[in-house]
Each structure stands twice: as C-alpha cells, then as structure tokens.
C-alpha cells in the first residue's frame, strides 16, 4: 500500500494517511491522497458542479459521493416551498446537479435526509480507516470512527468530484489523553470544551488530534462524534479516535457496513489501525476526566470557556494582550460583567441540536432531565434532531411527547439555529444556551449571544432559566434517573 517503512511504530493518523497515498509529494509539494467518501451539501457544492460542467468533466466516483440538504432547510412546514430565495436556489441547484451528475441525494422529506455529519455515520458509510471530506469544517466528526476526515473549500470540492483525490500537506500529530472516570452529569461535550479552553482555538493548528485514554474508550460513538466534531474549533485539521469494539458494534448491521465474510475482513483490518506502542506524537496533552465539571463558554470563541461553577473571568487577569483585548470585546458583545457567577446568567432561548449534539443519545440525555418537568417561563426551547431517522427513532421512544410536554418545540431535521441560515435565528440581543459548536458573534442570528453547553446543561438551563448544570437540580425532585450521553 505504501513505500513507507511500515515497521516503524506509527500513529493511527499516519497509518490512514499512508494507506491513501496515491503519490508522495517531493520538494515541498503536497501528497496526493485518495478520498474514500465525499459528502456534499447545498451551500458549498454549486460552483464545484458548475466548474465540472464548464470543463466538461464528469464526477469520477458517484459511488463514493453522497449529498444531503441540511444548512438551509426549514425545520417547520417542510412540505411548503422555501421562502428565502437564496436558500431555495441553493437547494434547487443541488437537486439539478445531483440528477445531472448521477449523485445520490437525500432531499428534504426523504427518510435519510439530515445533517451530513449525522447521515454518513448512521448509514454505516463512515467507517474506520477511510478518508472523508466535505465542504464543511465539521467534517472532523467522522474521525470518531478512526477515519481521517477533513473539511474543504469549494475548489477542493470540485477537485475531489473530478479526481477523487486531494493534494494535502503532511500534518503533525497531537495526543489528547483523557484518563479517569467522568462524574455523573459530565459528558463528552464538557471534555471537548475543556480541551479547547486548555489548548486554545489555535492550539491544534497543523495537527491531527488523537483522543485517547480510558475516558474516551468509555464513550459511546455518539459521544466520540461530539468530541471529534469540535476538533476544528481548536484549529486542528482533524480529530480521531482509534476504532474498538464500541465502533464495530455501532457499525454492525448498518445499511452500508460490510456484510458476511467482508465484515470479518474489515474488522480484522480495522483492528490494525490503532496507534502502535512506541509511536511518537509531536505534542501531548493530558486531561483528568474525574476533575471535569459541566462546562460553558462565556465569550465569542469556543476557547473562551470555564466550568459552570465559576464566574465570568476578568479580562485584566489575562496576560496575553491580544487575548485580553479579545476577552474585553467578547464581554462587551455578550453583555456580561467580569465576576458574575455564570449560574446567574439568564437565557432567552435553549437550542438542542446541530451536528455536535443532535443524535439519539443526545436527545435521550436531554429528555432524561426534562421529563415530567416544565420549562422556565419566557424561555424558548427548540429541539432539532440531526436527521429524519433520529426524529423517527425519538418519536418511537416517545421523546417527542417528553419535549412538547416540557414546553419545547419539536422540529424537523437540519442545521437550524446552529448557523441561522434558515428562519431559526436569535433576535438581536437574545441569549441562548446552545448545544452547537460555534459561539461567534452573530452566528445564531445577528446580535444573538451564544453559550455553548452540553445537552444536560441545556436541559437544566431550560428548566431553571439561568445557566445551570444537572447538579443544580439535585435539590429538586428528579423524576427520572439522570442519564447522560456517556
């Protein structure tokens, strides 16, 4: 598969890279890497298809390509025409392109429609050891399976459609080892928010992160996806978790997973992917899982986060002058005063969704807290499943009833308020506890203020009306055992 010295101990990332080397770049040129799976959506693909058309090129491997509609799609009244013209044009263009180029598409209303990063894994297309790309930065999600998954730009989308390869510069590796046992109420989302707060939004630049350690091994696939999803928020090229029995169990029997003898061959190969003993990483970070608490961001980048039990930090205590200025700007935008206990901050909205936290376990975790309770007055609560299948699964379990009885809105699948490209937006000045991945200025709507949290924190916040962790509910009667996306 490669001319590389395979006897040398290698990391998971190096193994996957080596296995996809079409051509090694010489003299500073990038390597040419083969792409196993290309996920496509309506926002970053139109010009890529148009470029193919202009050059008279076909899609090289439609059988390695799949498209869904997600970024623009409404989450209400999905049977009616999309009101916003730009959104509608993008969706219609994707439909035309998929037809013309023979690409499989799951449109609004289709049972497999949903956020690309939820659909790929759920169909069993995302598998260990493969390379995955998509014109979306949160493609890193798929690394949870031990795949190498990158977000790419529109010209790269065209390049992959035409050649099924991508010229890529070599990367550095960083081990993020999370050892120990999480306390009840602390979840995968808290781990990744703590990691980003520790290494910073640029700390992963140029690196592929590998999440390791007992706390990662103990996570479900949904939890691992939450972690890998946000690798990009630390600036990393990708994030990965070595495949293990949890991975195989998740994949077994999925529509596109290997079957019969192929399954056995595949598992045998997948088991060889884990980082070899003695392999070295370019950087290492250690996190003590037992010390983690429910986490929340206070600022306007995902690295500006602290434990929920703390207070809004004082920018004047920040040494780095650039970071201090950023913190000052963030507090002004967020309308927060240094020293305010985070738990005193009241919210207007709670968003439960996005490719970070919209899978069935996330919904179950949220439901485990809100079941039998009523949301706080004046707080708008929206629950948006990641895919049409997740929606159906939740309804089969009766979760939709739990949500609506709680006072939440139960929506159709899509990106929704994660980026507010559809009508699901915050009004200027509104404050939201959100299970999504970006708290940038205006991300959820112009002037909107975002606090990134886990599904459990989102649920507790929806109940109390102020940023809260499930621990704050202990005093109140808990109608159901506290679950968690563990």
């Amino acid at each position: 598969m490669t001319e590389n010295d395979t006897a040398r101990p290698r990391t998971l990332a190096e193994k996957v890279w080596d296995a996809h080397l079409v051509k090694k770049g010489s003299g500073g040129e990038p390597d040419l890497i083969y792409i196993d799976l290309h996920l496509v959506h309506e926002v970053t693909s139109p010009q890529a298809f148009d470029g193919l058309r202009a050059a008279g090129r076909p899609v090289r491997r439609p059988d390695l390509t799949i498209a869904t509609e997600d970024h623009n799609t409404p989450t209400l009244a999905i049977d009616r025409p999309i009101a916003d013209l730009t959104s509608r044009t993008q969706i219609e263009t994707l439909r035309t392109n998929a037809r013309e180029f023979g690409v499989r598409l799951h449109s609004l209303g289709d049972i497999e429609q949903g956020i690309v990063h939820v659909v790929g894994p759920q169909l069993g297309l995302t598998q260990p050891g493969i390379t995955v790309v998509c014109g979306d930065s949160h493609t890193s999600t798929h690394g949870a399976f031990g795949a190498m998954a990158f977000g790419i730009g529109t010209s790269e989308v065209e390049h992959v459609l035409a050649t099924q390869t991508l010229p890529l510069k070599p990367f550095k590796t960083m081990a993020i080892t999370v050892d120990g046992e999480l306390r009840p109420g602390v979840t995968a989302k808290d781990i990744i928010l703590a990691v980003i707060a520790r290494i910073g939004t640029g700390g992963g630049q140029g690196y592929v992160l590998e999440y390791r350690g007992s706390a990662i091994r103990a996570l479900s696939m949904d939890g691992r996806m939450t972690i890998c999803n946000m690798s990009i928020e630390a600036g990393a090229r990708a994030g990965m978790v070595a495949p293990d029995q949890t991975t195989f169990d998740y994949l077994h029997g999925r529509p596109h997973a290997p079957k019969g003898a192929d399954w056995d061959d595949a598992v045998e190969y997948w088991k060889t992917l884990a980082t070899d003993d003695g392999a070295t990483f370019d950087a290492e970070v250690l996190i003590d899982a037992a010390a983690l608490e429910p986490f929340v961001t206070w600022g306007t980048n995902p690295g500006q986060g602290v434990s929920l039990s703390e207070s809004v930090p004082d920018p004047s205590s920040v040494e780095d002058l650039n970071e201090r200025a950023a913190a000052e700007r963030a507090l002004e935008y967020m309308d927060l005063a240094a020293g305010t206990p985070l738990k005193d901050i009241a919210v207007d909205a709670v968003f439960m969704g996005s490719c970070t936290n919209s899978r069935i376990e996330d919904l179950r975790a949220f439901a485990s807290i809100v079941a039998g309770r009523k949301k706080a007055d004046g707080v708008r609560v929206m629950v948006v499943p990641g895919s049409a299948r997740v929606r159906l699964e939740a309804e089969a379990e009766g979760l939709d009833k739990v949500f609506t009885e709680f006072g939440a809105e139960w929506r159709f699948a899509g990106c929704s308020m994660c980026l507010g490209m559809n009508p699901d937006q915050l009004a200027p000045g509104e404050r939201c506890a959100s299970t999504s991945n970006r708290n940038f200025e205006g991300r959820q709507g112009k002037g909107g203020r975002t606090h990134l949290v886990s599904p459990l924190v989102a649920a507790a916040t929806a109940i109390r009306g102020t940023l809260s962790s499930p621990w704050d509910l202990q005093a109140e009667p808990a109608p159901m055992a506290m679950g968690g996306a563990r």
């Binding site: 050059a55 090129r57 499989r104 529509p255 595949a266």
Partner: protein, 206 residues
C-alpha cells in the same frame, strides 16, 4: 483550461492602484450558485459611470488590463478572477499583485504578470496615444510589445509552466490519472460505497 502562449488584443490603461477584490467584484455577487457569468459583476461599483474606462468605445472588447500597483489585494474570493476571465481578460499587468489573487489567477488561466512601474507608465502612454491599440503578450519570452516598445515581465516558473500547459489544479492531478487508477485497483472491495443505495428494506431482503 486552454493553453496559454501569446495573446494579442486590446489593452486598457487602468490608471488605478490598490484595486482590491471588493472593487473587482462586490460581495453581493458572491451569493450566486455559478462559477461563470460574472462579467456583469466586474468593477460593478464603477460601471454606472459613463466616463469609466471600460465604457469607452475604444475599449469595448479588451483582453489585457494594464493596472497600477497592488492589484487584487483583499479577500481571498476566487470570484475576482472569474469576473475578469468572464469579461474577456486573459492578462492583467501590474507592478504588484495581492498574493492570493496572483495564486488564484494561475489556477484559473489568467496571466497575472508583474511589470516594472516605469514600464507600466510607458505602456499607458503608448496605449493612450492610440486608444484601442493591440498589445502582444508573449508568455514564453516573457515580453509585452506594442509598436516599437517592448518590455519584460516577471512570473514564477511554476505558474508559467502551468499556463503554458493549460493545467488547472484538476488538470494537474489528472496528469497522473494512471496513478489514481492503479490506486483504485488496489482498494479493498468492501470499502464503503454510496451506490447502489442500501437501506433497511434492502437489508431485510438480504
């Protein structure tokens, strides 16, 4: 992408410096879903002005833009190159270019050639003496000629080679298509495929 050798065509004396990509194509045009058809967007902020140079009859079908220093600075939008190409330009001459713009140009078959500032002045003078006159840009010899005047230009060897061969990024990769085919032949057959579609129904039948 077409191979680039020499271009002979009408040149526009574009006496402006620091023309950034926002001026080349304003942001409102970025919402489109196509990669072509941006000719109407080129310099959209200036086109209303009847005095604007591209509205002069002598420069009705230009192929060469002779610009002042720091052309194409600003945002990374590839649309700036598309708009120039769609309008009919094959060459932009300037003493200095924005880095990303210059990189994007080479990939899209637009020659962004660096010409010394005093030579730009001489080209402007020659064109303005006879509006609508044609220039000849020779990529192999790296020269620009009009009448008796001939000046040199700079371009890096790699971009020059790509333009001469007519290779965009995709063309460059496909030069080694045999390598891709060899790789594909060695892929395990159980690697995931999106087609034919598998779902719960096909699973039940299997």
């Amino acid at each position: 992408m077409q191979k680039f050798e020499t271009v002979t065509g009408v040149a526009v004396p574009f006496r402006r410096s620091n023309v950034d990509t926002d001026q080349i194509i304003p942001a409102v045009y970025l919402k489109r879903v196509t990669k072509t058809g941006f000719e109407d967007a080129l310099f959209a902020g200036w086109r209303q002005d009847p005095e604007f140079i591209l509205n002069q009859p002598a420069y009705a079908s230009p192929r060469i833009l002779v610009a002042g220093p720091d052309f194409g600075t600003g945002s990374s939008r590839e649309h700036a190159v598309w708009a120039l190409r769609d309008y009919g330009f094959d060459v932009v001459l300037s003493p200095r270019f924005g880095d990303i713009f210059r990189g994007n140009s080479g990939k899209q078959g637009l020659l962004a050639a660096e010409v010394a500032e005093d030579d730009i002045e001489r080209l402007w003078a020659a064109i303005e003496a006879e509006p609508g006159i044609e220039l000849t840009v020779d990529l192999v010899a790296k020269t620009v000629a009009v009448g008796a005047l001939s000046v040199g230009f700079e371009i890096d060897d790699y971009t020059k080679w790509r333009l001469l061969e007519g290779l965009d990024d995709i063309g460059l990769t496909l030069q080694d298509e045999a390598g891709i085919e060899r790789f594909e032949a060695g892929r395990e057959h159980w690697r995931p495929r999106t087609l034919p579609v598998q779902n719960e129904e096909t699973l039940e039948k299997a």
